[in-house]
């Protein structure tokens, strides 16, 4: 990736931050922010050893998916990475799906999506500001794991990502990264975060099962319009662990013939 491309990606990331009105250091909630940008966000716990996420265009809608079996800080990064694919690589006429098995893949698109995610989560000037104003310009050779934990909490990133980004921005040398990794070995990131009352949730997986609200709206509305049998409603709701009984205000069950147009869906 050449310098021009880097700068172009940084600009796109800045635009996204502006659109999401991120004024602090990190995103308050990147999942909500992505929805506000018009993406359909899906989160599902498919297992720790499974793929991390994907970006997809479907019938003109843009979908980003993240695996919620991973710890939250990594899941947040997944969404940022998938937004990168959406902004940089997907188009109606071209690629409509990119699936990510791991983010260490060195292929051009992966490197670019990672760069986008890093620029989005930890923009250069915000990192500078944090070091100046929050760490009192403490020189980086005096940093310890607690300082990294503070950066983690401010930017909502994983310990490792904080180190990678700080190194990329020239704030840390290889040997400092090595030292700070050992620091993490001595305490875990969770302990470090606890010690500074940071965001401990970053180190846990949420196991969230989440689809956009409109998905459920379509289904419930179709049921209320008597277009689908209760069975289809139940099948769709069960994806997000809901029962028909959980939904209030449904119209009375009426027999919908199973050989209706819709019988092949969600059964």
């Amino acid at each position: 990736m050449n310098k021009n491309r880097q700068l172009a990606i940084e600009k796109i990331a800045d635009t996204v931050r502006a659109e999401c009105k991120v004024t602090g250091y990190g995103f308050q909630n990147i999942f909500e922010a992505a929805e506000k940008l018009g993406y359909q966000v899906i989160r599902y716990p498919i297992g720790k050893d499974e793929f991390l996420g994907f970006a997809m265009i479907k019938e003109g809608e843009r979908i980003v998916f993240s695996n919620s079996s991973l710890i939250l800080s990594r899941e947040i990064f997944s969404i940022a990475h998938e937004l990168g694919h959406q902004k940089l690589h997907l188009s109606e006429q071209g690629l409509t799906l990119i699936k990510d098995d791991d983010f260490t893949n060195r292929d051009e698109y992966e490197v670019e999506a990672n760069y986008f995610a890093a620029s989005l989560m930890m923009p250069r000037e915000k990192v500078d500001k944090f070091i100046r104003q929050e760490l009192n310009d403490k020189s980086s050779d005096k940093w310890n794991g607690l300082d990294i934990a503070r950066i983690q909490t401010a930017f909502n990133v994983s310990y490792d990502m904080a180190l990678i980004r700080l190194k990329a921005l020239g704030k840390l040398s290889e040997s400092q990264v090595h030292y700070l990794k050992n620091e993490k070995g001595e305490y875990t990131a969770t302990k470090l975060l606890k010690a500074i009352s940071g965001n401990v949730d970053l180190c846990r997986s949420t196991e969230a099962k989440k689809v956009p609200a409109e998905y459920l709206e379509w289904v419930i509305s179709n049921y209320n319009e008597k277009l689908i049998p209760r069975k289809s409603l139940q099948a769709a709701l069960s994806y997000v662990d809901l029962d028909v009984e959980d939904i209030g205000g449904l119209s009375e069950e009426k027999d919908v013939e199973d050989d209706s147009v819709f019988a092949k869906i969600g059964t």
């Binding site: 899906i42 498919i46 799906l97 292929d107 709206e217 379509w218 769709a236 147009v261 869906i265």
Partner: protein, 116 residues
Amino acid sequence: MNSVLGARIRSLRESKGLTQEQVAEKMNCTRQKYARIEKGLVDISYASIITIAQILEVSPDQITSAVNHKAQKEPMFRDNGASEKGDKFQFLDEMINTFYAHRKLYKSVRQVDGDE
């Protein structure tokens, strides 16, 4: 589905004795990009299938028939030996397709309402 197409393209390419580089060059794309197609990591447009078919000197049907011949429904969890990664993606894909089928119905009803 993409992995089925990709695998078919790969076997057709190998039977022609071509390398990924050679095909990628004819397609005017990078080898990495082409490799993603064979790995099934990307959606492939019909236009690309036609291009690849021309390069491999086969009919597009020879590529797409791979999908048609494959049993449509596969069990969510196969016995060991098969990778489950595809299954998880398939599960999510089916979930999205289910909701999108609902969306189509939802929109079609409103379309009719709007025309009245």
